[in-house]
Amino acid sequence: MHRSGRKEPRWPNRRRLARRLLPALALGSIALLCLASPASAGDVAVLMGANVGPYKEALEGFEKNLAGHEVVKTFDMDGDQEKGIEKVREIEDELKPDLIFAVGVWALQAIMQTPTHTPVVFAMVLNPPTVLGNGPANVTGASMNVPPKASLQRLRELGPQIKRVGLVYNPAKTGYLVTEARAIAGSQGIELITKEVNTPGDVVPALEALASENIDAFWILPDETVLAPAVTKHVFLYSYRNKIPVMGLSEHQARMGAVLALSAASNEDMGRQAAELANAILGGRKPSAVPYTTAREVHLTVNLKVAKKIGVTVPDDLIGSADTVIR
């Protein structure tokens, strides 16, 4: 409908031009921004517990597998908790990353002492529940623990005679692991015979108590109460005297007297696992929805010399699947 006596207003040329150009400019700006940085870019800050080879390998694995994201800065707390807490504050206040990668138990402890809402992924941590407690919602990671199922499975492969497996543990350190192991042991046809200790001094009496329980094998858990050097010597003496094979935690323990030993094989792979978790979180998943992982590459050592001394025959299949065989 035309208004009488008035011309229809016309947009001035400049305004028309601006209206036509504006969407193009906006699209162009967005395109430039997309070119300047990836659409899914996220900044990651790293806190290392110490400048030590295995941590550096894990960091290498993490950096190589961080898809579309970037480590902006790496801090070394050099084993100093105060320094670690200071670094966490610096990360939070100045860097404000999208995710923090904590390498090692000391780094995770420093973060736990400095409350943060930033998602945290850890790697190279043994027994994470002892550090995480009730499990803050923003923390997950790749632990160094060998899955209990793998340890029990290998013990079972020693032969059908392995039915009762003994272990000594401190509930405060590895109670969670024993709970998990009990749930799995039944399916492996194994009964766990456990003794609780609170101090390294309690371990030897606990071992002697186990001797009367007719166990078929002994399983060393990654429990620092049991791992004091003077105590592990008693474990291997116990094994030798009672002719009971031991499942240890490392090739070193196999050389000391364990018939079998399982350990995490690759620090770099633990870094890769952590990167996979980080990618999932940076992609939108909540850390609480991403459970922490255990070592997926494990190294099996078999000590045939010890096996022979204590009268244990190791099946050929088990020997064949070992990464290191000590003869």
Partner: protein, 410 residues
């Protein structure tokens, strides 16, 4: 009639300069390599010339001697401290899942250990060394005796004319000191690959004071052979020459690769490639004048506070003078205190094709490293010749160095 005598003893080997036509007048030599040749040289004519007596007899050294051997002995005696990583804080306990503070030492001083610095770490340092050379082939250089025979004038045959049987005996007091001030840097390109460079500044001082006497084997010798004690004719029995030089030495570049570390029972193993470039002025003994490429195999391991190590390799020397040699170092370092490491080594080289002096050199080294603050290391080393009767050798070579490491994670 005495036969012509070739120059006796090691000093004869050193006095080649008396045969060289050197334009320098005795006094300040033009170059360090001219110090000895310029003795008794007058108006460009080398040799002792006794002009009193009517004829101009002269006593010359006919053999061309390897002064370069002396040059190389001076410039190669002082080695550079090894570019080692020093303060390494931790090992890792896989069973407990925690790092453990390292009881390892700060590393050796002259030899290499297999470990590298670590990626993105930088180690920088400076060192100062000094050598007062005392012996050449077992003889004190402050009292070298040379016998200069008479030139064989026509007709051929020493003793015809009969005054040709006289000799001139020269006693030379030689002083040689060398100081090396070097700064160096090593960078961890990769976790197991280091690159290092060392830039030395060298100061050399050399002086020669000679006194000659005539050995008269002809009964009428005094009628033909006499020094002019006034020196008016230039025939003084005394002559001296000296030179001081300071400047850039031979720059050294290194690559070290660690291919085994912390793997079961194996020692740590690595390899070092070192190139020494001829950037120093060889005429003034600031450099050797040749390119040297050294390849070393390295093995080292720590057993608590004691860390033995061994380096074995080969060095190629340019110039075709058959100076290629085998290099070896073995020793250990031990950490008696968290802040102090003692080091001891046997250091040696063997030039298997060479017939020159200094073919086999063996030294003992004793040192200490102190870590007074953070990653600062102060090192002191004493190098002591164990086979003093070969080559040009000082009594000892003290070296003082400081270094600091940066980088890696903050």
């Amino acid at each position: 009639m005495q036969q012509w005598q070739p120059p006796r003893g090691v000093a004869g080997a050193m006095i080649l300069g008396l045969t060289l036509a050197s334009p320098a007048f005795a006094g300040e030599a033009k170059h360090m390599e001219d110090v000895i040749p310029s003795l008794y040289t007058e108006d460009g004519v080398p040799g002792v010339q006794l002009q009193l007596g009517g004829h101009q007899p002269h006593f010359t050294e006919g053999a061309l001697v390897e002064l370069n051997r002396l040059n190389e002995d001076i410039t190669s005696t002082l080695g550079l401290l090894a570019l080692n990583s020093t303060v390494s804080g931790y090992t890792f306990d896989m069973e407990l899942g925690v790092p453990v503070r390292n009881t390892e030492s700060f590393g050796p001083i002259l030899s290499e250990r297999a470990e590298t610095l670590g990626q993105n770490r930088l180690n920088v340092g400076c060192q100062a060394s000094r050598a007062d050379f005392r012996k050449f082939e077992g003889e004190n250089i402050d009292s070298l005796d040379v016998v200069l025979p008479h030139l064989d004038n026509p007709p051929p045959g020493i003793g015809n004319p009969p005054y040709e049987v006289d000799n001139v005996l020269v006693d030379i007091d030689l002083k040689i000191t060398q100081e090396v001030y070097a700064c160096y840097a090593t960078y961890g390109i990769l976790r197991n690959l280091d690159f290092g460079i060392a830039v030395p500044a060298v100061r050399v001082s050399m002086s020669a004071d000679a006194t000659a006497v005539i050995e008269r084997n002809y009964f009428l010798s005094s009628t033909v052979h006499n020094f002019d004690p006034t020196g008016a004719s230039g025939d003084s029995p005394n002559s001296s020459s000296s030179k001081h030089a300071f400047g850039l030495g031979d720059v050294v570049a290194r690559l070290k690769y660690n291919f085994v570390q912390d793997h079961g029972w194996l020692p740590g193993m690595g390899a070092l490639l070192q190139v020494k470039t001829p950037t120093g002025d060889s005429k003034n003994f600031l450099g050797t004048g040749d390119t040297r490429v050294r390849l070393l195999g390295i093995a080292s391991r720590s057993y608590g506070i004691v860390s033995p190590h061994i380096n074995l390799g080969w060095e190629w020397v340019s110039g075709g003078n058959r100076e290629d040699n085998i290099r070896y170092i073995g020793g250990f370092d031990f950490r008696l205190h968290p802040k102090i490491t003692f080091v001891t080594d046997i250091v040696g080289s063997y030039a298997y094709s060479s017939s020159a002096p200094g073919k086999s050199i063996v030294d003992g080294a004793f040192g200490v490293k102190v870590n007074p603050w953070r990653e600062l290391i102060i090192a002191f080393n004493a190098l002591v010749p164990l086979n003093k009767d070969t080559g040009l050798r000082p009594d000892w070579v003290p070296t003082l160095g400081v270094e600091y490491s940066f980088g890696g994670p903050e």
